[in-house]
């Protein structure tokens, strides 16, 4: 692990009911880097992300987060909590706390998990909501917000804890095309600020224009790992070319 590596996953394996969906994944994200994980449905991208934050227990594998090494299969509760405090996660289905306002969603983790005084937490939450253009709706409950607005609040929630890396699990897949733009804009602004991001996505334009590097997964293995520009302009192999052709046609 070099000095600039933020996250290093190695040898990640995961099976569901006897079927292995991750066959030993290696993936590195450097500090300040935005890595897009592309691949067809069922390639294991989401599972990899969930294993990295212990939402799924990997069967084997290692996680190095800014110098701290953990066994993905055997990490203890306290270690898992520590990893989660240092990372952010944005879900495909937003998963905003339904019994909290937009502001409450952002302050919850600060006040409860980090024991930050309420006034300070709210100040930071307002600043984060401002960043994603949602501060004017800070008193709204999730049920009163559109999908795009909910996802922007979720991004504010993830960045409020000042994580070392934010994982995005298909953040725009549940959104209408006209709402994906506002979410991608928030992510782009976060990337421009130097946030380290690992983004599982189907958004080719985001991968092409915002990501520094693209990791292409298929059938539970990494098929290609290249700088974004090279990935699109000089596809490494036939599998990637086929994927890009169908993506262009869509």
């Amino acid at each position: 692990m070099t000095m600039t590596d933020m996250l290093k996953l190695s040898g990640v394996r995961k099976a569901f009911g006897g079927t292995e969906v991750l066959h030993g994944i290696d993936l590195t994200v450097r500090k300040g880097e935005v890595v897009a994980v592309l691949g067809p449905s069922g390639s294991g991208k989401t599972t990899l992300l969930r294993c990295a934050n212990f939402l799924e227990r990997a069967d084997a594998g290692q996680l190095e987060l800014d110098g701290v090494t953990l066994d993905l299969a055997r990490a203890a509760h306290a270690q898992i909590a520590e990893v989660r405090r240092r990372t952010g996660f944005v879900f495909q289905g937003y998963n905003l706390f339904r019994n909290r306002t937009a502001l409450g969603n952002v302050t919850e983790g600060l006040i409860v998990a980090r024991h930050m005084p309420r006034a300070e937490a709210e100040k930071r939450a307002h600043a984060c909501l401002m960043r994603v253009g949602m501060d004017d709706r800070c008193d709204a409950y999730p049920a009163a917000l559109s999908g795009g607005q909910q996802q922007r609040v979720a991004i504010a929630r993830a960045m409020a804890t000042e994580p070392e890396i934010i994982y995005f699990d298909e953040p725009t897949s549940a959104l209408d095309p006209e709402l994906t733009g506002e979410v991608l804009a928030s992510m782009r602004s976060l990337a421009e600020d130097g946030m380290t991001m690992l983004v599982v996505t189907h958004e080719m334009s985001f991968a092409k224009n915002v990501a520094d590097r693209v990791v292409f997964m298929d059938g539970g293995v990494v098929v290609a790992d290249a700088p974004a520009r090279e990935f699109f302009e000089h596809p490494a192999n036939e599998r990637v070319r086929a994927f890009l052709r169908t993506a262009d046609a869509a």
């Binding site: 952010g88 339904r98 983790g109």
Partner: protein, 224 residues
């Protein structure tokens, strides 16, 4: 209606209502409060899949839901003294009614807990909260809101079920009515009178339930 009957009804009204206010309602409310504690604990044990305790919880619900409330009252009040356990009528009624309603409410609470999307728990983990913190602050409050209407129904059912305690000599309002009936030799009017008072209690509770539901809805979380 002849005047002596009217007089009897007017005369008996406070004699039925007061035991209702002093015994029936407190019995129902105290039992319900204990039942809610039992129900939440039993539901959480099942939700969290705690080994052994979970099997015990299923056994408790199976036995209590599978036997009549009246039989449960008799077992505790007339049966336990054979084993040297003698309880007064009122404590017996509180004990049996809370255990009984606890079993039904536990199923209501379990369903409500399971209706909270697992993503709520995962989101809590991902902002650094512990299992207990997410349960207490995010999952349980949402489950309680979902469970509010069915739990209100269970409270109303419990108010009426307290009348079974008349069989173990609790001086609640149905027993008070029976005592007047045996003294005055008038049946139908008096039983209708006590029925009307139960109806009054239920109506007020139904009204409070609707008020509560409206208040919860106003807090914006009834959908999505």
């Amino acid at each position: 209606m002849d005047s002596s009957l009217a007089e009897l009804l007017i005369d008996s009204f406070p004699k039925i209502l007061i035991p209702g206010l002093v015994y029936t309602l407190p019995l129902a409310f105290v039992s319900f409060a204990i039942a809610l504690v039992i129900a939440t604990a039993v539901a959480l044990i099942q939700y969290a899949r705690v080994p052994v305790l979970r099997q015990l919880a299923r056994f408790y619900i199976w036995v209590v839901r599978g036997t009549p409330l009246l039989v449960q009252l008799y077992v505790v009040f007339f049966g336990l003294p054979d084993f040297g356990i003698v309880l007064d009528p009122l404590p017996t009624a509180v004990l049996v009614l809370s255990i009984n309603t606890g079993a039904y409410s536990a199923e209501t609470m379990r369903a409500a807990l399971e209706s909270v999307p697992v993503g709520q728990l995962e989101a809590g983990y991902c902002v650094g909260m512990s299992y207990l913190q997410v349960m207490r602050r995010i999952v349980l409050p949402q489950a309680l809101r979902t469970a509010f209407p069915p739990l209100s129904n269970e409270l109303i059912a419990l108010v009426k079920d307290t009348s079974l305690a008349a069989n173990i000599m609790v001086a609640e309002m149905f027993r008070a009515t029976q005592e007047i009936v045996s003294r005055e030799w008038v049946t139908m009017p008096l039983y209708l009178e006590v029925a009307a008072i139960y109806l009054l209690f239920s109506t007020v509770l139904t009204w409070l339930q609707r008020l509560g539901e409206r208040k919860l809805a106003a807090q914006g979380m009834e959908r999505g």
